[in-house]
Every structure is written in C-alpha cells, then in structure tokens.
C-alpha cells in the first residue's frame, strides 16, 4: 500500500513540473467553471422568461371579457415548458425542442420556438455546459496528461528498474491510476461545486444531482483506467497517445453520430402533415356533427334524449350544442392521443436503438444517464406534451360544459346575437402546473444506463487487471 501511494505521489510530483499539463488542467478548470456559471445564468434567464410568459398568458385568460364559452375554446391558452434547474448542468434536448405550446379546441399543436430553429448552425457545434466539458474535454485532457504514465517509464527504462526492485506490476498500475484519478477528481471539482450550488440555490433535486456526480465520477474513472491500461499495453508513448486519441475520436465523436443515423433510418417517423390528414380522415369516417342525418350523431342524439327522458333536443334541460361540443372534442382528442402516442413510441424506439449503441460507446450510456437525471431527455419532454394535452382536454371540456349548462339551446341558435356568459367563469379554470418526474421515477429510468456504465467500468477494470499481468511478463 505504501508503495502504491509513493508511485502516485511521484507521478503527481512529475506532473506538477510539466508546464503544458498544468496549463491544460488550469484551462479546463476555468472553462468548466465558466461553463457552469454561464449556463446557470442562461438557464435562469430562460426559466424567468418562460415563467413570465406563463403568468402573462394566465392573466390574459382570466381577463377575457364576458363571452360565449366556444369563443374561449378557440381563444385557448398557452403553456410554456418549465426548465429543470439541472438543465444548467446538462441542457440535453432543451434547445432542440419547442417550449411554447398553444392549446385550443379541435386541434393539437406542436410546441414551437425551440432554439434549434432560431439559431444559426453554430448551435450544432454543441452547447458549452459542464456536462459537455466532462463528457468530451475531460477525457481528452486525461489522455494528454496520462498517455505516458507507463509507456514513458518503459521508454526511459525505469519500468524495468521498478519491477526488478520487486514492485508488483499491479501496484505500479494502481499507483498510476491513483495519480490520474486525483487529476480526474480535480476536473470533477467545478462540476461538483456547480451541482451543489444548483441543489442549494435553484432547487435541484439533491438525489438527481448526486446521481449526476456519481455518473461523471464513474465516467472519468473509466477514462483514467483506459489511459493507464493503454499506456501499459503499448510500447511507446507515441503509440499510446495516438491509440488513445483514435479511441477518443471513434467513441465520442464518430460512433454517436453513426448511432443516431442508424436509429433514424431503422425507425422512420411520420410527418405532422400525414398525421393531421389521417386524423381528419378518421374523424370524417366517424361522423359529421353538422349533418342532421349522420348515423353516428343520430345515435348520439337518441342516446342523449333517452338519458334525459325527453323526445326532442329542445326539451333537454341542457344545451344540446354544448353536449355535441363535448362529444366532438372527446372523439378528436382520442385520435390525437393515439397518433401522438404512436409517434412518441416510435421516437422512444429510436432512442432505445441509440442506447443499444452504448454497448459500443460508453458515452451514449453516460449521456442517457446525464439527461435523465437532469430532466432534459425525450421522456421528460413527452411528459410535458402529455400533461399539456391533458390540461388542454380538461380546459376545453370544462368550457364545453359551460356552454351546455349556462347557455340555453334556443339562445345558442339565435344567429343575430351571440350568447355570452360571465367572465368570472374564466377565473374558475385552474392554471397549468407541470409535474416533473419524482426522484424515484428518475432513478428508475436512469437505471439501465447506470447499469451499462457500471458494466463498462468493470470491463475496463478487468482489462487493466489483465494489462498488469502482461506488464509483469514483458517489461
């Protein structure tokens, strides 16, 4: 054990004397800290903007004058996707998804004004967040700093010296790993501070923040082990460096894109254009509420009349037009839900496809884990849209009910004057509140990715173990 610490200590002492390495370390720490600060500030601005718009829209809804409820069905409302506090750490798909959802009767709109369609292609170079720094840049720095930890000793002949002095090969590797892990810990420090700050000040879930920290610690440990292992297995420093750089490029730059391409070809999505037409077609096939002879709506009328025990719609104690509105909305919403679910199922299929590539490239597992914990993944977005739709349905049906109960049938059919109800009814409609995943749900959905990442750590640890045996034989 003492030897192990001595080796680590010696390695770190050498590192302190390497100016370029220290400069790199310093730069990355500064970059990480500034990424944390800037993306926190950005997140605050965005969240404040969305909260302000939401408040404005809620106020405007309540301030509408006395009106016919059906006018309010068309007036509708907006909901704005709130931004999770941890989005400051990993923005995930936030920029790639719309945040403004218009809710109205008879239609299901898309969430619009996502950054991706409002930015130049510069956005595609990536967003500077602590997550990006740790996912891509920190491993690269570990490669630069650590590629020579063993290969360098071998080149200078000191490795053989150490081994002949009776230092075990695995002790050497573990000592080197300890030194690199210390560097990794230093790289993780700004992120840990950012996560702590987000939990304390911005209300991020401590459990999710802890999961993020653990995931990135595992990620950096994975790279530290890979760097020591490759450095031990290749004869020359240069070979180790080039090999590790190639590994970094293939695993972190190349494979994720290939995975995304494969996933999108494997499962193509229908366009909104088609979905809209399909919904309209299905709806027309069900029946036309404006046609007095339509079989479906004739049946509906009979059923309503029987329910109230009257013989004509004029005799109903409620406004038949309102009931028709309720029935029509129920029918369209069912279709919307069915098509939206099908589209999202397909998208999640694509994402699962991509996740499977995590077996080839661990960064995909890390990314999944990170976005899930940060609440910036596809599933969180789907939750928002589903809750928005549920809110839309409840609101529209409550307005339709107002039409059925507060406005008389005859009054509603008078073409020269529009019936209105009191504006106080608008206040009665509850505001939209987004319910994020509970910590338990978050951890459950992150579990498969966490298992995959753990698998990678174990696999690379086994490789390192094997490298130790080999080191003892060939050095």
């Amino acid at each position: 054990m003492r030897t192990l610490f001595r080796i680590a200590q010696e390695e770190l002492r050498l590192l302190l004397r390497r100016r370029v390495a220290m400069l790199g370390l310093l730069l990355l720490t500064v970059l990480s800290l500034s990424a944390a600060l800037v993306s926190w500030q950005q997140r605050q601005t965005v969240a404040a903007d969305r909260a302000r718009y939401q408040a404005q829209v809620n106020e405007e809804f309540d301030a509408q004058p006395d009106r016919h409820p059906h006018r309010m069905v068309h007036y509708g409302t907006f909901v704005f996707r709130p931004l999770n506090a941890l989005a400051a750490f990993d923005a995930g798909i936030d920029a790639y998804t719309g945040h403004t959802l218009f809710l109205e009767g008879h239609r299901q709109n898309s969430a619009n004004f996502g950054d991706v369609r409002q930015s130049s292609l510069l956005l595609r170079f990536g967003q500077l967040t602590p997550a990006l720094v740790l996912q891509l840049l920190a491993p690269l720095l570990l490669v630069f700093i650590g590629h020579g930890v063993v290969a360098g000793e071998r080149e200078s002949g000191t490795l053989r010296l150490l081994l002949t002095q009776g230092v075990g090969p695995r002790q050497i590797l573990l000592g080197k790993l300890l030194a690199l892990s210390a560097v990794a810990g230093l790289l993780l420090l700004p992120a840990a501070l950012a996560l702590l700050g987000l939990s304390l000040s911005a209300g991020a879930l401590p459990l999710a923040a802890a999961a993020l920290l653990a995931a990135y610690a595992a990620w950096l440990l994975l790279w530290a082990m890979a760097v020591v292992g490759v450095s031990a297995m290749l004869r020359r420093r240069r070979g180790a460096l080039l090999g590790l750089l190639a590994l970094w490029t293939v695993l972190l730059v190349l494979l994720p894109r290939l995975a995304a391409d494969a996933a999108s070809t494997a499962r193509a999505l229908p366009t909104r254009f088609e979905t809209d037409i399909a919904v309209a077609g299905d709806l027309a096939a069900m029946g036309d509420s404006h046609n007095p002879d339509d079989p479906y709506f004739a049946g509906f009328r009979r059923q309503v009349l029987a329910q109230y025990g009257v013989s004509t719609v004029e005799d109903l104690p409620v406004n038949y037009k309102g009931l028709l509105g309720i029935e029509g909305e129920r029918m369209t919403s069912e279709l919307f839900d069915r098509y939206a679910d099908a589209s999202f199922d397909r998208q999640q299929d694509q994402s699962r496809w991509m996740d499977a590539f995590g077996l080839l490239s661990p960064v995909l597992a890390l990314r999944r884990l990170s976005m899930t914990a940060a609440g910036t993944d596809l599933d969180a977005y789907r939750r928002f849209l589903a809750q928005g739709e549920r809110y839309r349905y409840t609101l529209i049906q409550s307005l339709n009910r107002l039409q059925a109960e507060q406005i008389g049938y005859a009054e509603d059919r008078n073409p020269t004057q529009q019936a209105r109800i009191d504006r106080s009814h608008w206040h009665e409609q509850p505001d939209f509140v987004f319910e994020a995943r509970t910590p338990g749900q978050t951890l459950r959905s992150a579990a498969p990715a966490a298992a995959m990442l753990t698998g990678w750590v174990l696999a690379v640890a086994a490789l390192l173990w094997a490298a130790g045996r080999r080191l003892g034989r060939v050095a």
């Binding site: 601005t45 509708g76 898309s110 409002q118 630069f144």
Partner: protein, 452 residues
C-alpha cells in the same frame, strides 16, 4: 519525379498513413451515401404526401361545394406547401432534420400557422447527422494531423534528421514535398467521393466547384497548422497534444462559446411575443363592434370598401377581415423576429472570419441550402403563397359569389421554385486567406527551423 515514387513508397510502407487515407475516404463515402439516402427519404416523403393532401382537399370539396359558401370552403381547405431538398442538400443536411419538409396552411391568420413544427426525435437531432460536412469539419483535421504531425520529429526520432540537415535546402524541399503529397492524397480521399457523389446526384458544376474550394481551403488550413507545429523543436507527443488542443479549441470550445454569446446578445423572443399578440388581437375582434373592425380593414384594403354592408348575423367577410388584421397588427414584431434571426446568422458568418471551421460550415450549408436563411426563405415563400390564397377567396367572400366545384379546381397551387446553388463568396475569402496564410507561415517556419 523519382522523389514522388520514393515518397509514395514511403507512404505505402507506413501503415498509419495508408490506414488514415483509406479510412478518411471510406468515412467520406459513407457520409455521402448516408446523406443521399436521407435526401431520398425526404423526397419520397414529399411524393407520399401529395396524393394524401389531394384526397383530403377532394373530401372537403365534396362536402362544401354543395352549399356553395366560399367562407366555409376557405375555412376548411388546407393548402400544401413543400420545401424539397436541393440537389446539393445531401452534402450538408443542416436544419432539415428539425424543420418541416411541408407545411399546410389555410386562409386564416398566417402568423398562427407559420411556426408550426415537425415531429422529430430531439435526441437524434442533438447528436447530429453523419453527413459530409461533419466528416470535413470535424474528422478531416484529425486525419490530417495523423498524416503530418511527426513530419519533422519523426525524422528526428529516427535519427535521420542531422543527415538531412547537412544537405542545404534538402530538408525543406523534402518536407514541403512530403507534406504536399500527403495533403494532396487527403484531398483526393475527400474530393474524389464528393465529386462522384455530386455528379451522380446532379448537383451541378457550380455547387461542385464551390464545395471543392471549401474542401481545398479547409484541408490547406489544417495542413498549414500541422506544418507550423511540425516546425517546432518539440517531441512528437507534444506536437500531437498541441494539434489536438487546437482542434478542440477551433471546433468545439470557441464555436460553442460564440454561440452562447450570440444567443445572449441577440434575443429572439419576438417569436413568442408576436404569437401571443396576434392571438389577443384576433380574438379581441369578437368583442369589438364589427363595423369598427371592417373600417380598419378597409383602410388598408380599400378595394373591398364598396361591398354590401354586414348583415345582422355572422358574415365570413368580417371573419377573414379580422384574421388578416391580426396578422397585420404584428407586422413589426414579425420583421423584428426575422431580423433577429438574420442577425444571428450574420454574426455567425462574421465569426467565420476568425474560425475556419465555422466558415466552412456556413459555406457548405449555404451551398446545400439547408441553413437558417434557407428556412427563412421558405417561410417567406409560404407568406407570398398565403397572399395568393387570400386573394383567391376574397372576391367570393366579399362579393358573396357562390363557390362551386369548378372554383375548387381553380384554387392556387404552390410551386416550389428552382433554387440555384449559392456560394457565399464573401466567406470563402477569409477561409482561403486563413488557408494561404497558415500554409505560408508553416512553410516559412519549416525553412527557419532548418536554419536554427
């Protein structure tokens, strides 16, 4: 020419060189095929949509032609607009993975319809597509580094350097030739698949020339940078480290920092605001005296002033008048929104003067017509078409002319215009400047390093 044979033999003997060149060529080819497949998929989708839309409109026509009310016909009839990919789109897919390929609009307020999005998987969009632009901008520099980083230090480490130095001028000549040859081969590895693919896809000579100049300049820039680093008396690991750090800075860190700055400095919240305001104005019309709305409409559209006065009951002309007034009331916000988006694009292009990767990206996507300006141009075409739609219905609605089946057949059709490829010449200038400058600097530094 014996040096050429000798150098080629050297390359053939270096496993790293051969592998790097072959893999580069392979990746470029895969990217081009993958891009072409994506473009074919987009075209297929458009082909699939056309009959769907036609039958949808036919159903509306059948249901509405009987009563002959143009107001209903205009309300229920959707119009399809399409944005087919250009012949060079497969080179750089750009924003086409997140923007609608086709958008349906109707005669109602356009501003409530124009920003409708497409359903796409944001997790895939976040990762990005594997297209030629990606191979060129991100991967090609890494391969050039692999080919060139130890130009000098490799000779030094193998002990041949002092011998080379003893011959006046020999070393410089050797390195310039060697570097030139390797860069040339990298250029072939990228350019050959590109020219074949662009010829097959019928992108046209101008697009090919433009794309090839971008490839040439970008490869030359990275080659120059490698020469510059190779000329330093550093170990090959230090050189590799420096180059990789440069790559990270130029293609990851600086662009994302710049994006952050641009997003913060040029907010485009006008998009959301115009949508909120347009909705307020459109729906507010239901609570205003209808005559006042009509008078406001007549002020900007006097041609309908002398039509019959509004009846007591609902009339479509009032409806379409307030829909249009709603659009017009946010004209200033729309203009501000667009100019904000264009300003973001302009600053990105200005950034191209400092960052060759950004310039190459902007140039390729302009050529492919898949960038933000392309999206805005599509929106403007939809806007112009929407003017036609309104102009088509208004005579029926305002003059209360019956609208029958033959009138349905006369409705305007959206025609996607031919768009010739555009080369952003002003951006090629800094890219070429960087390439020549750094290449020259690299050659000069190599010569000097011999004299030291």
């Amino acid at each position: 020419m014996s040096w050429l044979v000798h150098e080629l033999r050297l390359i053939a003997h270096s496993r790293l060189c051969v592998a790097a060149l072959l893999i580069l060529c392979l990746l470029a080819s895969i990217a081009l095929v993958s891009g072409a497949r994506e473009v074919a998929r987009q075209r297929d989708t458009l082909v699939r949509l056309a009959p769907l839309h036609a039958s949808d409109v036919a159903a509306v026509a059948q249901a509405r032609a009987k009563d002959g009310d143009a107001g209903y016909a205009a309300y229920y009839t959707f119009y399809d607009t399409i944005d087919p990919p250009s012949a060079a789109a497969f080179v750089a897919l750009g924003l086409r993975d997140v923007a609608p390929l086709a958008l349906r609009v109707r005669a109602l307020g356009l501003q409530a319809q124009l920003y409708e999005g497409e359903s796409f998987n944001p997790e895939l969009a976040l990762t990005g597509r594997f297209d030629f632009a990606f191979v060129l901008i991100y991967l090609a520099p890494l391969f050039i580094m692999a080919l060139l980083h130890d130009l000098v230090s490799g000779e030094r480490q193998s002990g041949r350097l002092s011998m080379l130095m003893a011959m006046p001028g020999a070393a410089t000549r050797l390195w310039v030739r060697r570097a030139g040859l390797r860069l040339g081969l990298a250029l072939v590895g990228l350019g050959l698949p590109l020219s074949v693919a662009m010829a097959v896809m019928g992108s046209g000579g101008l697009a090919l020339a433009g794309a090839m100049s971008v490839v040439l300049a970008y490869v030359a820039f990275w080659g120059g940078l490698c020469l510059l680093v190779a000329s330093r008396h550093w170990s090959s690991t230090t050189q590799a480290t420096t180059l990789m750090a440069g790559w990270v800075l130029l293609t990851l860190v600086l662009p994302s920092l710049a994006n952050l700055a641009i997003t913060q400095r040029i907010p485009v919240s006008q998009g959301v605001e115009l949508m909120l305001k347009q909705r307020q104005n459109v729906h507010g019309a239901w609570d205003e005296p209808r005559e006042a709305t009509m008078q406001r409409f007549f002020r900007s559209h006097p041609e309908w002033q002398d039509t019959a006065p509004l009846p007591l009951k609902f009339h479509w002309k009032w409806y379409y008048a307030f829909q249009q007034l709603g659009d017009e009331s946010v004209a200033a916000e729309v203009a501000a929104y667009r100019s904000g988006l264009l300003a973001r694009q302009q600053w990105t292009e200005r950034l191209g003067w400092l960052l060759p990767g950004v310039a190459a990206q902007a140039l390729l996507h302009r050529l492919a017509d898949t960038d933000l300006p392309a999206q805005l141009a599509y929106q403007r075409r939809i806007e112009a078409f929407h003017v036609e739609i309104r102009a088509f219905y208004y005579p029926y609605v305002f003059n209360e002319r019956p609208f029958g089946a033959e009138d349905f057949a006369r409705r305007p059709k959206y025609l996607a215009p031919e768009r010739p490829p555009q080369l952003a010449w002003p951006l090629l200038l800094p890219l070429a400047g960087w390439a020549l400058g750094v290449l020259g600097l690299g050659a000069w530094a190599l010569r000097r390093s011999r004299e030291d």
